[in-house]
Symmetry: D2
Subunit: 303 residues, 4 copies
Amino acid sequence: MPEEDDGIWFRESFSDYIIFENKMEKVYFTGHSKFQKIDIVKLKNWGKTLYLDSKIQSSQIDERVYHESLVHPSLLLHPNPENVLIIGGGEGATLREVLKYKQVKSATMVDIDGELVDMCKRYMPEWSSGAFEDKRTELIIDDAKKFIENSDKRFDIIISDLTEPLDDGPSKYLFTVEYYQKLYDLLKPEGVIVLQSGPAFTGLLGFMGSVNQTLKQVFDEVIPYQSFVLSFSMMWGFNLGFKGLSHKEESLKIGERIKERDIELEFLSSDYIKGMMLLPKAILKELNKGKISTDKNPFVWDF
Amino acid sequence: MPEEDDGIWFRESFSDYIIFENKMEKVYFTGHSKFQKIDIVKLKNWGKTLYLDSKIQSSQIDERVYHESLVHPSLLLHPNPENVLIIGGGEGATLREVLKYKQVKSATMVDIDGELVDMCKRYMPEWSSGAFEDKRTELIIDDAKKFIENSDKRFDIIISDLTEPLDDGPSKYLFTVEYYQKLYDLLKPEGVIVLQSGPAFTGLLGFMGSVNQTLKQVFDEVIPYQSFVLSFSMMWGFNLGFKGLSHKEESLKIGERIKERDIELEFLSSDYIKGMMLLPKAILKELNKGKISTDKNPFVWDF
Amino acid sequence: MPEEDDGIWFRESFSDYIIFENKMEKVYFTGHSKFQKIDIVKLKNWGKTLYLDSKIQSSQIDERVYHESLVHPSLLLHPNPENVLIIGGGEGATLREVLKYKQVKSATMVDIDGELVDMCKRYMPEWSSGAFEDKRTELIIDDAKKFIENSDKRFDIIISDLTEPLDDGPSKYLFTVEYYQKLYDLLKPEGVIVLQSGPAFTGLLGFMGSVNQTLKQVFDEVIPYQSFVLSFSMMWGFNLGFKGLSHKEESLKIGERIKERDIELEFLSSDYIKGMMLLPKAILKELNKGKISTDKNPFVWDF
Amino acid sequence: MPEEDDGIWFRESFSDYIIFENKMEKVYFTGHSKFQKIDIVKLKNWGKTLYLDSKIQSSQIDERVYHESLVHPSLLLHPNPENVLIIGGGEGATLREVLKYKQVKSATMVDIDGELVDMCKRYMPEWSSGAFEDKRTELIIDDAKKFIENSDKRFDIIISDLTEPLDDGPSKYLFTVEYYQKLYDLLKPEGVIVLQSGPAFTGLLGFMGSVNQTLKQVFDEVIPYQSFVLSFSMMWGFNLGFKGLSHKEESLKIGERIKERDIELEFLSSDYIKGMMLLPKAILKELNKGKISTDKNPFVWDF
């Protein structure tokens, strides 16, 4: 009776009543940084995988789907993305995708958790694949809020790759009107911001809706979009915010820009980028009810 | 130490190495029909849910997403859908969506498992919500293959809502070139077929790709599409096949037809239907490698 | 890939870090009485099983082991057990074992949960197997404490078959010095009490030790013993308290009394009863540190 | 919603329908030797734990219970145990217990899996606590069968600490009449053998019963006994075989010998050793039906 199922598993709760379990093959690292619990393991079905506080962050099987979906719409909608700011994104794969653009002259990445970045470099080099060593990269280990308040550099693109604002978490004030206003000010006249915004499905849109409605208080145009990420077992949501630029006009140029800029994409295409922005009726309706997050009354995610 | 997690759960394997568990609130029915194991339960998070052979079929939380995605693209792409054939679809929700169209004069549903249909009527009346009593409905409990070989009725729309072709399952020969040819012949000159086609994600496209490539052997035009179904934890795939009609031309009329026909949709919109048909690059590439299924050498799904 | 493991399971936590899962075959009843959550199910490996508040109470596979171990030592150590009081024991199997003795003239059972008793009669008749209909049985649905304060009947044997004293549970004050004193007074001059006392293993002896030390404040002699119950995955503990009688003298007569009284036992024998009372050194040591429970400062079990 | 339950777990099936899960804190080693899968981990509740082929072998929380129960009855029943042979026992804890006796002049340990022994030395030094370095120890990495056929040394005590005879496992022929005859011949005129014999509960006695009945074909007297091991979630069985000696006579001397030999025991006492040998009626009955294992028709354990 040797059971295939016996052995080491990673368990992740999606709610009080839903549990997801993945058989493991190997443990690379399990421990705590100053900010969070870090598990870097190899799953039988999905390969190398990073968990923070026991929540999946990215997995070898489809980290490209997530990171392409996060990064490229913003850069392809911008006429000339030269200076990019990445907030969070400790694995280095967001950075990797950004650096695919020859136009990019500087990529500034700010992550609060230096130990996490070190562990990712050491155990998950496939994610950054050299990006941290690129001369255009500037890595800053610091609180994003502090950086943003003190920086006098201006950016074409800002990519927010942060975990959800939990009540006791560090990112609670990184999704408010006041904070978005600071990001708006950090952008050059024609700037684009994109934020990972959590699950994109009816009943689970608290976070995505709050980002959407809060962004609208500050940015000239806001476009939500979604992409399915298998290892999240979920349709995933993002929000784009535009300063100056017109989404409609820029979006006509995506196909052309992919070619011109010679960007190699595994998952995204001009067509699929269009598709990502066409959301179901029920979701659009629910997004409109998103809570506006302010420093005084910040949105907190307790799905 | 009373644990919230303690009590009755439904466990479903997605592979040898991935397990998904849902806390249960109630059991309505658990038993076997002549063809399959049937469990009708109430899940804490998702409400009433049907499992066949311990695989989730549809759940109160989002059965509308699945059934709207399965039914409406085909009917909205057709100028005048009067006669509809449904193969499978025991819950009665596919039928319910079809009957929303006043144009529909007859809806013929063929399901092999009469006991399943009875259990669904009894314990899940929300799914069919009266559809079985509609005068336009003709319910036939029979093997689809036998029905199709003997029917002399012609249809505008055929909807295939069957479980995957497993090696020892009954639907192995309901996805072959020869079978599709018979369906093609059953369609009127301007007819549309749609088939639920399983998971739509790289690495899991065996079934969707086989349906896609096999359909192409028979139909004049084939369009794959996808929609995310939360309770499947998966992006779900479908394939449309056209006889006579041009997808491109008809698709321009979807928005208008939704209004004219006065179809109430919760999830789908003209825009989202367009979005469903814009697939990621990697998926399109993999679909092209789908195996052509024939009676002699039928495709069998062993994900 | 139909997985044997898929389907309905019952999950029980033994601690925050240990989970035990049993595949189910059938659900007889799942619901709440006024006092507790009741699940009566059929487990694939163990047959019909009762859970209260998601904790296993007794299972067809070995309820005889538990109930024989609970009931017979006390009755066999008594020269003439005529009047027996059972506190708790809703399933009716404790009663069934007591009624095996022709000497027994009356068996008074007091259980607070009438709905539980009804469900057990209806769905688990194998447990009581007619005991509730025996003319010697008196069933009282009431709070044990109230009964004991008001009863003027006297008993030869008292059997306490209660769940552990949890902080918010109803049995917190049914294990104190003051309560035991009342039980002592209810016993005839030569009386024996026995209490189910929870797990019997080092590190888990809080409950068993507290019963042991608290009994010693009141009874003339106290004897702990243990018996392994498979469906509890645990060595289980009991405590005997003697009024007047000498355990040593009476225990010499057990073998003879089994024969004389013509008691049919499946699991217990004169030898095994002796063995149950020979505890490991480390357990005896830990029992001695048990906390004395008083009305003012009752012992509460939070393993 | 950070769930305490999330993270890394070890899953062990006890049958097709029973699963036991333990939360993990750390992984020391996970890999394969030439003979088996080895996992050395730290469990939240039980501390450091060894799994072979995903079956628990011993755990910090109660390895002393298992090893004291395995080792001391045999040595305490022998008037002068000078030469001891241990078959299996890779962790080194069986050896550690044997070396507590100053009478022991040599302890020969034969284990087939040298890599396992190395891993245990490295990651679980608490088990052997120096025993491998004791001058009286002779460690032989070899097949037990080969060793036994070629050894001309004679022993007072033989301790068999082997995993169950599985159909495809290496120990299938280490539990037969023929093999036991060889062990009998290796014993000095007054010798004792003890074998770990698997679960000791009705319905699960296949292995324990087969060892019992097979031993009886060869040894002059056979005594089964049991001890509860928490980390096995099970009452565990052992069998003693005597050559020349009388169990009854020797057992009277156990208490005295513990003192004389100044053996420090945590769990066992003279009384508890007696108790271990008093088995329930139903178990004794079932042991008598054990299958006699022969080289031609070996018993195979497929619980």
